[in-house]
């Protein structure tokens, strides 16, 4: 399990692995938004939390098809499926590796980009908290989507079409926490719901992903 995690992390960090791509994309989104909506600080401060959440979500989406596609192509997924490690654990580890290489860096980078978008001071804590709680859910749901489309050539677009509607609840609660935090309102309600979604999908979806992979490997 640990070996698999390390292998996935190494693959992501070394050349062509796409680590940093998501971060760069996130940065570009944050830079482009003021060009699109105008440079007024008041307006930017109002939409910063939502824009950063959306940017993080899209950046997360960018690297999803790498979770299984490369292993599927070179056959290592078959090896993983026949290895003593249960496929459910493989899915969990893969999602964890995806989170460590995209969700975690995005969470850490978000405050800096918040500065660019003149996010009010009160917002930083809640932006980071909501991203830290929400991005694992994005990775796990995305892992399910990647497992669904693994057998399809050039399934990247289809993957986004399938996964984006599934992201709706996470995005709503995550952005709501960040927005309420920014405005100084009580956040415990959406925060609890966001954490609930994350925990539920982490508990359930790896099993579904494994089921889907078995169907695809049949």
């Amino acid at each position: 399990m640990k070996a698999l995690l390390l292998r996935d992390l190494k693959l992501a960090f070394r050349s062509g692995g796409g680590f940093g791509l998501g971060l760069a994309f996130f940065l570009i989104v944050a830079v482009l938004v003021p060009f699109g909506v105008g440079p007024e600080n008041d307006l930017l401060a109002k939409i910063a939390a939502g824009v950063l959440w959306l940017g993080a979500l899209l950046a997360c989406l960018l690297s999803l098809d790498r979770i299984f596609a490369l292993d599927w192509e070179d056959g290592s997924l078959d090896l993983l499926a026949t290895s003593p490690l249960p496929l459910e654990a493989v899915c969990g580890v893969k999602a964890l590796a995806h989170w460590l290489t995209t969700g975690l860096p995005l969470t850490l980078a978000a405050p800096v980009l918040g500065l660019l978008l003149s996010l009010p001071e009160t917002g930083y804590v809640w932006l980071v908290t909501s991203l830290a709680l929400g991005t694992p859910a994005l990775s796990v749901i995305g892992c399910f989507g990647a497992a669904l489309t693994v057998g399809i050539k050039r399934g990247g677009l289809l993957l986004s079409l399938l996964v984006l509607p599934l992201y709706v609840p996470t995005l709503i609660f995550g952005a709501e926490v960040a927005r309420r935090g920014t405005e100084g309102l009580a956040v415990s309600g959406p925060l609890a719901l966001l954490a609930g979604i994350s925990l539920a999908v982490i508990a359930v979806l790896p099993f579904v992903s494994a089921l889907v992979l078995r169907i695809n490997l049949r």
């Binding site: 399809i152 289809l158 079409l161 399938l162 709706v168 609660f173 719901l193 979604i197 979806l205």
Partner: protein, 250 residues
């Protein structure tokens, strides 16, 4: 012994639907023509909404079918998973585009209705938003069916997507409720206690309700007819594919 599972046999299913389909289609045509003419021309205008109220005869039945088509897909997917009846998987496949179109009709008629009433084509109201999300779910489901070549794999994967999607669709519905309060009125056609209770004005009056029920019956029958027709087409497609494969072997 007659059991519903007998009709999981494609031959029996085809034989039954061969007889049932014309009846259902005729019923749909009669109900829809009668209900729509009744609704459009023979009911009075609403004292506040004027003639725009008549869009209810398309909007409400379409919205009803849009949601229930997903339930049909959910049940059919479960049956496919548990009992591996191919007809069931094909019913789920056949229902999806019909449901997607109904969702679109509900959204468009809603926008046309909303413009004179609320002064806007679109608001991010929970009901409107969740219908838009439902439409996206339909698109994803249909796209997944189209993308996979092997029919059994496609049936399995779309069934999983339908089950997981249902959970997330319900979750989205509540999340959206949480996110914004809306303009759309609540369910008022069959409100309990509304007939005798004090809030009679809150309920849709019988003058409008009766033709509405005829329209709903028409839409339900239309949905059934379309799903049966599409399922029959899918079964025939499978047969043709099997025949072609056999020809190649010989």
């Amino acid at each position: 012994m007659a059991s519903i599972w007998e009709y999981a046999n494609p031959v029996k299913f085809m034989r039954l639907t061969d007889r049932v389909l014309p009846v259902v289609a005729l019923g749909a045509a009669v109900c829809m023509v009668a209900g729509l003419i009744w609704g459009f021309f023979l009911t009075p205008d609403d004292f506040r909404q004027g003639s725009t109220v008549k869009i209810i005869y398309l909007h409400v039945p379409a919205a009803l079918i849009a949601i229930n088509a997903w339930f049909v897909m959910l049940v059919a997917s479960l049956v496919w998973f548990i009992r591996r009846h191919h007809v069931s998987a094909l019913v789920a496949k056949a229902a999806a585009p019909v449901g997607a179109v109904m969702t679109l009709i509900a959204l468009i008629t809603g926008a046309i209705w909303g413009e004179p009433m609320w002064g806007t084509w679109w608001v991010w109201d929970p009901r409107l938003t969740s219908f838009l999300i439902l439409f996206l779910f339909y698109l994803g489901y249909i796209a997944l069916w189209e993308a996979i070549e092997s029919p059994d794999t496609a049936a399995d994967l779309t069934a999983v997507l339908c089950l997981v999607g249902s959970v997330f669709a319900v979750l989205s519905r509540y999340a959206v409720n949480f996110w914004n309060q809306g303009l759309h009125q609540g369910a008022s056609v069959l409100r309990a206690g509304a007939v005798t209770g004090s809030d009679t004005e809150e309920k849709v009056s019988n003058v409008f309700a009766v033709p509405l029920f005829v329209c709903i019956a028409g839409f339900v029958l239309l949905f059934l007819a379309l799903v049966l027709l599409r399922t029959r087409t899918e079964i025939r497609k499978r047969r043709t594919a099997a025949l072609i494969a056999r020809e190649r072997l010989v």
